[in-house]
Amino acid sequence: MADNKFAAYICAGCGIGETLDVKSLEKIAQKEGKMALVKSHPFLCSEEGVKTIQDDIANESVTHICIAACSRRAKTEAFSFPGISTARANLREGVLWVVAAGAEHDEVRQEMAEDYVRMGCAEVKKMILPQGNPDKTQAKNILVVGGGMAGMTSAIEAAEAGYDVVLVEKSGALGGFAKQLWKRVPFSAPYSEAQPTGVEELAARVTAHPRIKLHLNSTLAETAGAPGRFMIKIAQESGGVSDITVGAIVQATGFTPYDVNKLPELGGGQPNVVDQAGLETLARTANGAAIQRADGKVVNSVIFLQCAGQRDDSGTHLSYCSGHCCATSIKQAMYFKDANPDVDTMILYQDLRVPGMGEDFYRSAQDKGVTFTKGKATKVAGNGHGCSVEFKDLILDELTTLNADLVVLATGQVSNAGVDLDKWTEVSTAAESGDASAKEEQQRLRTTSVLKMNYRQGPDLPQLKHGFADSHFICFPYETRRTGIYAAGPTRRPMDLDQAITDATGAALKAIQAVENAAAGRASLPRVGDLSYPIVRLEGCTQCKRCTVECPFGAIDEDERRFPQFNEQRCRRCGTCMGACPVRVISFENYSCDTVGMQIKAVNIPDEDEDKPRILILACENDAYPALDMAGLQRQVYSAYVRAVPIRCLGSVNTIWITDALNSGYDGVMMMGCKRGDDYQCHFVKGSEMAYYRMSKIGDTLTQMGLEPERVQTLEIAITDSVRVAGLINDYVKQIKEIGLSPMKGFG
C-alpha cells in the first residue's frame, strides 16, 4: 500500500478548542499517529472546513483520514468522503460532554482526548477501502414457492415491477386455501358483507403474465447457492427435474388447519361437526341457497365455537390465537343469515377479536341477527338429529346445554414452514456421530422440508415460535435469518387474506431488494449497503468449524475438506465468524482483528503509581455506543478512565482483544451488548449470547494471568440506557479501584 496517504483533522469547534489542548492533539496525531498531514480547524463540519479536507484529497492525494471531532454518529453527511477510508475520534460526545467540568479534571480529560486521537489514527492505519464482493451475481429473477393467495400476490407484484418470476406450486392448480372459500371477509368500507375471494381473477392474471413462469405439480428438490445465484432443482410430480438459477426466494407455502380429530371433546370427527374449512365446502355446495349438512339435512341452527384447540394453556393444543377466526365465523354465520334470516346462528366466544374495521363487520352480523355469547364450550356430543353443546355462559354465569343442527369449530392455522431447525441440528449432530437411526430420521426430515436448502444450518427457514417462520424484529418484519429468502402469508404468522396480501407484496419488494443488493455486492439489513465482506486466509485455517457453526445466518458452508466456504451474498457482516476464529484468519477490509486490536494497543497506559486506571469499553455500535453518545448529549458525567471502541456486534469480539488489553495493562474491560435470551435484541441474533459464552471460558485465562475475573464484565445495554450506562461505568471504576490496578502494567 505504498500510495496510501494518511491525514488527521482535528476540530476545535463545539468548545473543543476552549477545553482541550488542540496543539498537543495535533502533535500526537503527527508523532504517534504517524499521520502525514495534520490540520486543525475551528469549525471542521462547516462547508469551508470540509473543503480543506476535500482539497487535500484532491491535491495531496490523501486516501485515509482520521477526523477528531464529534461522534461517528454526528455530521455523517458532512464527513462522508466517497473512496476514502475514514475513522472518527470522538472528542465531543466521548470526552467533552461526559468528563466532569473544572480544571481539576483537565489532565485526565486531555489524556482521554489524546488516547482517542491515537486510537483513531491507529484504526485508520489498518483500514482498507471495501471494494465490494468481487463475484457479482447476475440473477435478478425471483422464485415464489406456493401458488396460494400470498404466493400469487408476491409473483404478480414482483412481475408488475418488472422482475421475472418463477412460481412453483405443489398442486395441479393455483389458488391454494383461498380457492376452498365460498367468500372472504371484506377488506374495504363498508365492511358489512362477505365478498367474492377474487382468487380466480388473480390466478388468471398470474397465468397470463408474460414475466411469470408457472411450475404446477412441482416442488423443490434442492436449494443451493446464495442471493443472486440460488441454484434450484424443481422436481415435477411426473419425475422430471429442471435446474434454474434465481436471485431471491419468497416462501408462501401457507398453512394447514389444525386437525379437528384432535378435539374429540368438542365433537371433532363427528358427522355434524365441521371445521371452518368444512363449512366453506358446505357453503360452496349450497352456492347461496340454504346450507345443508353432509347428510342433506337443511341446517336450521348452527353454533360456532371460537378458539377450538387454540389459546390453549394446557399444552395440549395450539397456545396461540390465529387471529382471523372470529371474523371468519362472523362471515360464515352470515352465509346462513343471508340465505335464510330464520336460521339460528350463535357464535360462542371468549374474546371477540375483530380488530380495526372488523368492528363494523361484527356490527353488521349482529344487525343480521347473528347472536354472540361470551362463554366457553365444555362438551359437544352428537345426538340423533344434531349436536348438543354444553357450555358456560360467562355473562349469565351458568352452565347450559343446547341443541343445534350443526357445530362449526374455529380451529387454528398450523404453518407449513417445513423442518424445525432445532430438531434438525439435534438429529444431524447425532447423525454425524454415526447414529444410524438419526441418519434415517435426518433423511425423513429432509423429505418433509419445503426448500431443501443444502445450508449447513439446515434445509428450511429458521422458525421463530410455534412453527412460524416469522421475523424476530418489530421494526423489521422482513429481517430474515436466511438472506434473500422471505416468508410470506400464514407460513410466517397466522393471518387472514387481507394481511397475507399485504405481507406478500412486502415480501416481493424485499426479494427485489435482495437481488439488487447481491448484484451490487452490498449487505442487506441491518448493515445495509456495507461493501465489506469476510475474507479468510485459508492457509491459516485449522478447520475447527467454529465459524460455520456459529454464523447466525448460515452463510458459511464447509467443503469436503471441512474448510469454510463463505457465501458472501448470504453474509450480513456481523463478524461473528471473526470473533469465533481462534487463529484470527477471518477479517473484513475495514473491520478486523487489527483495526480494533491496534486501537486497544494505541491507548497510553499510565504507570501503576499514577493511580489512573484504564478501562476498555467494547460497545455494540447499534445500542450501547449510541447510549454512550446520548449520555454525552444529556451531559451525563462518567469517568475519564474509560476508552470506548464501537464494534459491529459483541459476537465479533475476538478473545485476543481482551487478553491483549489485559496483557498491556488495562485494568478492566466492559463489554456492552444487547439483551440476550428468548427476547434477544441483537440484530445478529446471538452476538450477545456468544460473547457471554466466550467470556465464561476466559475465566481460566484470567486466573493464569493472575487476574481477578471481575476485570472482564459483560453487560446488556439498551439504547435507552444513557443514564444507566454512565452509572455502570462509574460503579465499575470504583470497583476496579477497590480491586486495585492491574499488575500487568509495564509488561505489555
Binding site: C14, F43, S46, C70, A74, K75, T76, E77, E157, E160, A161, S188, A189, Y191, R205, H209, R211, R311, S319, Y320, C321, S322, G323, D351, P355, G356, M357, E359, D360, K374, L394, I395, K465, F468, D470, F473, I474, C475, F476, R493, M495, Q499, T502, D503, T505, L509, I512, Q513, L525, V528, G529, D623, P626, M630, Q634, D679, Q681, A718, T720, S722
Partner: protein, 435 residues
Amino acid sequence: MTVPTATSRMILVVGGGISGITAALEAAECGQQVMLVEKTPTLGGRTSQLYRYFPKMCHPSCGLEINLKRLRGNPNVRVMTQTEVVAVEGKRGDYRVSLKLTPRYVTQNCTACGKCAEAVSAEIPDAFNYGLSRLKAAYLPHAMAYPQRYVIDPSIIATAEGQKAKAACPVNAIDLEMVEEQVEVNVGAIVWATGWRPYDANKIQPYGYDRFPNVITSLEFERLADPRGPTGGKLLRPSDGQPAKNIAFIQCAGSRDENHLRHCSRVCCMASLKQTQYVREAGGDGKSTIYYIDIRAIDRFEDFYQMVQADTTVSFVKSKVARIALNEANNNPILHGVDTEGYHRYANEHDLVVLAVGMEPEITGLLANGGLRADIVLDSSNFIEGCAGGALEAGMFGAGAAASPLDVNRSVQSATAASLKAIQVLHKVASSEVV
C-alpha cells in the same frame, strides 16, 4: 433552504414516522429516488415516543437507530422536515405537489452544541413528552432527533430571546430572517404515511381526563416509563409526584364506541398489557388492573397475554368503566362500573388511571390544506383506503397507521407493500409495460 429538484421518476413519501421512513428506505434500497417529507422538525414519529414494544419489551429507538443509519448512508433519499403537502395535481406517474416549508430558523451549520438553549430562558411545552414537561424555546426535539439540529420556536423569533439565541451561536447557524416557503415538486407516485394521533381524551367526558389530574393517556404513560422522559422513568402521579402503586388501565378509551371512534384501534390491548410490565418492573408493590371488553391479543401476542394473566400483580375486570369520580381528599380516581362476568358492581379507587386511547388517522392537515385529493378514498373512520379507480390505476397509496389502525410491525409491512406499489408506477410509466 435549498430544495432538491424532484422528477416524475421520484417517489414522494409523506410522513417521517416509522412507516414513512420504511417506505422511503425500502424504495431507495431498490435503487429508486425518494423524497421524504415530514411536517415536524424531526423524523421518528409516534414510535420514537414509545418506551418499549410488545411483546419483546425491546426499544423502538433501537430500530430508529438502524433506520437513521440506513438513511445517512443512502443518497437516494432526500429528507425535508417541517414540510407539509398543501396541494397535489396531475395524475399517476406525473404529480405536481406543492410543499409548504415552515422555517426552523437554524441552518445546516448547526452542530447541536446546545449554546442557544443555554442562552435562552423562555420555555415551551415539550411536545415529545406530550407537554408533561417543558423545554427551552431553542431546542433539540429529542435525543435521537434527525436531522440533529436545533429548532428555534416561532414564539421567540421577534423577541430579545431570539436575539440571545442568535448571539449565543458560535457557528452563526441561527437565521431569524427565515420565512415560510412554498415549492412545487414533480413526482411519479405518492405514499401517504401520515400516521395517527391519539384520540382526544377530553372528549371521553365520563372519564374526566380534563377534570382529574391522575387520569392520563397511555401515550403519556409511555413517557413516564421512559428513563429519558419527564420523570426519569419513574411512574409518578401528576397530582403530587408520588409513585403510582395501584394503576387502572381502561381499554377502548374512545375505540369501539360510536360516540367516538367506530373502529377498534387494535394496539391498545397489547399496549396496556405491556404497560402492566412497566408497573411490575418499577418494583415496589405496584399493582395493575385492566378493565376491558375483549382482550385482543392476536396471534403469538396471546403468549404475552397468558404471561400477564399469570402475573400476580395484574388483575382483569371484564367491564367498560361507566364513569370516574374523584376522591377529593387524595385526588384518587374512583372507577364505577359492573364486572359483566356474572354481574358484580364495583367502585374501585386507584391512584392513577391510564386511558388506552384509540388511534385516529392523522389526515386532518391534509384535508384542511387541500393536500388530500378527492380521488383518495377514506373508510368510515377516515383511514386512507387508496385511490379511486381501482388498484391498477392508482398512483397514491396509504401506508401504516394512516391506512389502518395497525401495530408497528404491521405498519412496516404495510409501508413496505406501499413502497412496491409506488415502484410499480414508476416502472410502468418508464417502460410503458402494460399488463
